[in-house]
Amino acid sequence: MTQPNKSRSGKIRSNAEDMVRFTMANFVDKEIIPVATEYDNKGEFPQHLFKKLGKMGVFGIRYPKKAGGSGGNTTLYCIAMQELARGLLSLAATTAMQCLMATNGLYLYGTKKMHEEFLYPALKGDKMGAFQLTEPNAGSDLSAVRTKAEKTRDGYVINGMKTWSTSGPKADFHTVLCQTDPSIGLRGLAFFLVPASTPGFSYSKPFDLLGTRTSAISEIYFKDCHVPVEYRLGKEGRGLGVLLKILSEIRIMTASLALGLHRAAMDDAIRYCKEREQFGKPISKYQLIQAKIANMAVNLEAGQLMVDKVTHMIDQGKECLNLASMAKYFTVESTCSACDEAMRIFGGYAYSMEYSVQRYYRDNRFLLSGGGTHEVLQTTIAREILSR
């Protein structure tokens, strides 16, 4: 497993990063990989695996023990996501959301009662949370958010809709970005907790998706949804700030999902090219195949170094949004390329739904837009560098 740490006092202890990776890899190999293609083909969310992850304390991995978490950090969270994505990207993405975006506002700004009702059950996997930003005309441009939260005497009334809502039809509660004062744009944004049981909440039929087909993604609607004032997560007008607090983490989590998918595609390609024989020898003996494997391996290693650097910076409280954007951009582009190369190595067989490589190829498109489109990221990366 690991080279243990030895402290100055002579105590021998295991390395937490290696132990988390080993544990998650073991879970993925035994529980997820054998059923991943079956669930993807059926388009069914593996609820029992989600429950098991809750039982293992994975959803609380980045929260302190006193908040019902497992006492880990961003690095351990991202390692767990890398391993999960190696098994099934859609399950990994739902888990990633449960660990971070769906619960972070609740953790930071929720009352004790809200923690007992929503946060603790979510960290145990007894409740599912979701995170809702995107609207038909708002995504990268959050100033265009139109879902409105109107203040009443005892709370807020929410009206509007969100689209591309991951777990929209399944989640028990939603962390929703709303506009409290359209006249002031970004300064009017705020997050709200909206339980799915709130009268006026509804959702559409799940979308028929190209990839991550076990995820239930839909539109969700708020029609006069009344929530109490304590369900506002953070101050009015601080919605963007709440989001910015975890934006580096969202980006590096997305990069971590990419690393896991990249590893899955590479592992399958390596196994296949050693087995498949043409002209009397395995295709792994041909230089053009070797070039593809080399490119995959180099990009994976480079991406891993970028991700490790950023997660450790986040854990040290260092500002690293631009590096996180770079890591997300690089790893996802590399993964798209790795999945494409893996398809080519599999040749005609890649065109069959029997092999997982076609799933990797479809699933990688999810990462292109999730966590920031690359067209926007390239602009923000360059803008930050040029402004120095």
């Binding site: 497993m1 690991t2 080279q3 243990p4 740490n5 030895k6 402290s7 006092s9 002579g10 105590k11 021998i12 202890r13 295991s14 390395n15 937490a16 290696d18 132990m19 988390v20 080993f22 544990t23 073991n26 879970f27 098991k52 039982k55 293992m56 304390g57 994975v58 609380g60 991995i61 023990k65 978490g69 497992s70 006492g71 880990g72 351990l76 767990a80």
Partner: protein
């Protein structure tokens, strides 16, 4: 009830490759894991603790990196862990290993039940459990595949035998060796796993002096058996296709078998 579980770090393979020249295990590329049967022993111990209260203590003998299986054990619910680690322990056969483990257990003192996996996948001897029970002079029940009831004084277990089962009621303290059909081991919980990696985690490392053994009693020096050579058996098969009519082929086959030293058993 206080339960000790013996765990071992082993290479992750059931198809161990040996260097044909040196006879040594080829460890390159082999991941280390907790011996699979030991996972079932731990699961049994944690389940009993959940029912009766008390503590589960994991004990292992091995090099410093064997701390990883103890961390995993704590992730699964063990409360404390003890690593018996000393250069003097290396090269031990089952006699010396079981002696070392029993001395460690004597130092822990406070136990009612010891549970071990039936055997380790890197040695397949199934000797450690019974030998530890013998050193400690306590009762033992091997091949346990069910624990029917347990209280502070007695445990009732089912043993798998070659042609059936045996139910045993054992007075405490007792040592059990368990087989995989006993239970489904849980995955480590992240909180317990991460806590077990912290410096303040209750993991003790004991050397030969700590457990009060002389170096001539342990490791290679204390071993009664020495491995002279290990090798992979040569299982190469020779295939030959016999041709002709059915009658000719059968007759040819019988002639060939008669000429060879093959013993043919048949039932009328």
């Amino acid at each position: 009830m206080n339960i000790i579980v013996l765990v071992k770090q082993v290479p992750n393979t059931t198809n161990i490759k040996l260097d044909p020249k040196t006879g040594n295990l080829i460890r390159e590329g082999l991941e280390s894991i907790m011996n699979p049967d030991d996972l079932h022993a731990l699961e049994a111990a944690v389940k009993i603790k959940d029912k009766t209260g008390g503590k589960v203590m994991a004990v292992s003998m091995g090099p410093p990196q064997a701390v990883d299986v103890l961390t995993q054990a704590m992730g699964m619910g063990a409360d404390k862990a003890f690593l018996l680690s000393d250069r003097a322990f290396s090269g031990a056969d089952t006699w010396a290993t079981s002696y070392t483990l029993s001395k460690g257990i004597e130092k822990i003192k406070d136990y009612d039940l010891i549970i071990c996996g039936h055997q380790a996948i890197d040695g397949d001897t199934a000797q450690i459990g019974p030998q530890v029970a013998d050193w400690l002079d306590i009762a033992q029940a091997t091949y346990v595949n069910d624990i029917e009831s347990v209280d502070e004084n007695e445990i009732v277990v089912k043993r798998r035998l070659e042609h059936g089962f045996e139910r045993l009621a054992c007075k405490m303290p007792v040592l059990l060796t368990v087989i995989s059909e006993l239970n489904e081991p849980r995955y480590p919980h992240m909180e317990q796993l991460i806590s077990a990696c912290e410096q303040k985690a209750p993991i003790k490392v004991w050397n030969a002096a700590d457990i009060g053994v002389k170096t001539i009693e342990v490791g290679l020096e204390g071993s009664n058996t020495h491995v002279i050579k290990t090798f992979t058996p040569n299982f190469k098969r020779q295939n030959e296709l016999l041709e002709g009519s059915n009658k000719e082929v059968v007759s040819d086959l019988i002639d060939r078998l008669k000429k060879s030293d093959t013993t043919i058993a048949y039932r009328l």
